[in-house]
Amino acid sequence: QNASKDVTIVLGEGVDLMEPCMSTRSNIGRILLQNINETLTELDITGGKGLMPRLAESWDQQNDKTWRFHLRKNVKFSDGSDFDAEDVKHSIDRAMSSKIACETPRYFGSSKITATVVDPSTIDITADPGQAILPLMMSIVTIVPSSTPVEFTRNPVGTGPYKMAAWNVGQNIVLQRRDDYWGEKPQVAKATYVFRTDPAVAAAMVQTGEADIAPSISVTDATNDKLDHAYPNSEVFYLRIDQGKAPLQDKRVREALNLAIDRKAFVGTLVPAETTLATAMVPPSTLGFNKDIQPWPFDPDKAKKLIAAAKADGVAVDSKITIVGRSNLFPNVLEVMEAIQGMLKDVGFNVDLQMYEVAEFERIYSKPYSPDRTAQLVGAQHDNARGDPVFSMFFKYHSKGPQSGFSDPKVDKMIEDATGATGDDRAKKWSGLIAYLNNEVVADILLFNQVGFARVNERVTFKPTIATNGQLQLSQIGFK
């Protein structure tokens, strides 16, 4: 065995489960997705190739609701069993089952998904009501053998190029390359995953050669140009404006808030230089991203004028506004929040800052909102690497969306329309929505398209991409 074909990857977050149907969680997905368990389709976000086949060789739409998938043949699971349509059906049923609490159902919203086996290499998948992007959705459903019980597993079996060789809880997880993989044989023979919460330590481990890849280190530790690579991590950082409380119902006030923040000043100081300014809830690589929208300029004078105007109209611009933040959201979230607070204060807002741990933060972030809250700006990150805004817009902007800060029938309608549309029409509708939200509603204070840093040892080649947050395909790692 050639030791130099082994890699060690140091991750920032431990895993508690290795459940294939939970691979949408980034900590699980990074180890499991496409390494152990594969999906029918796969989205190429960076290469621009769009949706690509994986376990399905091709697919076509039967009708509004049903899609037919033609499956790859001669594929074996790591336990030796053959892959066929029954496995796909079981995987879908299992993921949607109410006997376990998989994450998958949430992507399908209210649609009911059923799979019908046509023959061992063909399967029909039906969504009711219909899903315009069903093949894309299939890129999140991991395929497990039909023998997998309907309960959470800690020992995943899949068709991927690797199988799980060992899991020493708290210490490491080891993946071993399979010889009977259907596809191209990746270079990495064995991958050991270790977990270090402290990014500084993770960075140090790559530096000392104890590890080869640290996919997410903090910007302050990214001090070595040779080893460190920045990549957009698909997170958008924004402040939700709570339109339920004075003075935030007033559009002028919301504009003033946006104008008061010197976004550019952050870049290269508190956030990495590679950061871009956000103009939508979704990253630029998403379908229908509206490139015409410019970030809000920094114009404190105009902000002050708007406030004065609002005040003259009797808007309670002096009432307290609380910025709610989440501790450890990203490395220096506290400073960023303080800086924002400072800028808002400078134009005359009365702002407080309150940081919370996850649980309390989530309670505030999602509905139902407490009726006796003060006006709030909730700082949150939203991650959509799935290529389509549908995974974001309903939740953040629909009046029934659990994290939306306002209610606008027009917006509701636009979201519903776009969700049902396909092709270019779909892209156009999303674009329209994004523009409307930014220009007319002034729904939130969009700030940054975040970037992450990976430290990669010089002996391996690996290029982190926007997908690296949620998956890390070992096949993309090479050796020098």
């Binding site: 210490q171 402290d198 330590v201 659990p402």
Partner: protein, 304 residues
């Protein structure tokens, strides 16, 4: 003596029950695990489903009854996050924590007692001032700071030791060393103070009149008299370590129970929290019983 131990075990059992009751009900006041386990975008259906699966819909008292009856069968319940028995999860971590605590506290106790006693022999002397200052700087320096500097110096720059993780003996050196510092400073000061007081006693004069050497006066005659507060503080520090050395565990990637407990609390994985508390509480109770026995062994006048 046997009666004493029996009584202590019995009353400790009641404390354990009280602890369980308290933790069970209080922790459930702190929010809903479903909201944390499931993604933000989860549908109401998913939430309901999750609650049903984990019996979170029943009235608290019913849940508690179920918990107790399971507990009677030594079933500590399942971990929400890890989908396996909570007690397994906890014991895995506890083994590490226990080793770390025992090793560190033994070293600390030994070093602090020896150095503190010698320092107390000449209060205000050079040795005393030096050890005090050094240990106090260590004890009041932020531990993560010490840990990271230690990694940078000893693992990255000098490459003497691995940065973190487990595996070899060398992996233990930095965590133990960093963990050592704070209790060392505290116990050193307590030893020192207690010893100074004891050196003033008349029996020290007797020992000197007998021709007993300084070392023996310090470590045999005086130390035992000064030990009561010392072992109490050692016990306190040991208890803190048994509860988990969180900073050490997070920084050094050490799979102990401290980080597990914190994560479980933040994620509302109640079964793991309860199991972890029970295991550590048991260890702490046993340790406290040993400490109380140690009082009686160290000082015959306390045996009543």
């Amino acid at each position: 003596m046997r009666k004493l131990i029996f009584g202590r075990v019995l009353s400790s059992f009641f404390s354990l029950i009280a602890l369980i009751v308290m933790v069970f009900f209080l922790s459930r006041l702190t929010g809903d695990p479903a909201a944390l386990f499931l993604p933000r975008e989860a549908t109401q259906e998913m939430l309901d489903n999750f609650r049903r699966l984990h019996g979170l819909n029943d009235p608290l008292i019913v849940q508690f009854g179920r918990y107790l009856s399971d507990l009677a069968h030594l079933d500590f319940g399942e971990s929400l996050r890890q989908a396996r028995p909570a007690i397994d999860v906890v014991l895995e971590g506890f083994v590490w924590t226990f080793q770390l605590a025992v090793i560190t506290i033994s070293l600390v106790a030994f070093a602090a007692i020896v150095i503190g006693s010698i320092a107390a022999f000449r209060p205000g002397g050079v040795f005393d001032r030096f050890t005090s200052v050094v240990s106090l700087i260590g004890a009041s320096a932020p531990d993560f700071w010490v840990a990271i500097v230690a990694i940078v110096v000893f693992a990255v720059n000098l490459a003497w030791l691995p940065t973190s993780g487990t595996g070899t003996v060398w992996h233990w050196v930095l965590p133990v060393a960093v963990l050592f510092i704070r209790p060392f400073g505290l116990i050193l000061q307590v030893v020192r103070g207690s010893m100074i007081q004891s050196f003033g006693s008349l029996y020290v004069k007797t020992a000197r009149a007998k021709g007993v050497g300084n070392l023996s006066i310090i470590f045999v005659h005086t130390l035992r008299n000064a030990m009561l507060p010392v072992i109490t503080v050692i016990g306190d520090q040991a208890a803190a370590m048994l509860n988990g050395a969180v900073v050490i565990e997070t920084i050094f990637g050490f799979p102990g129970v401290g980080k597990l407990m914190i994560d479980s609390i933040l994620q509302r994985d109640f079964n793991v929290v309860l199991a972890a508390i029970m295991v550590t509480a048991l260890a702490i109770f046993i340790m406290n019983i040993l400490i109380d026995l140690a009082y009686a062994i160290l000082d015959p006048r306390v045996r009543t």
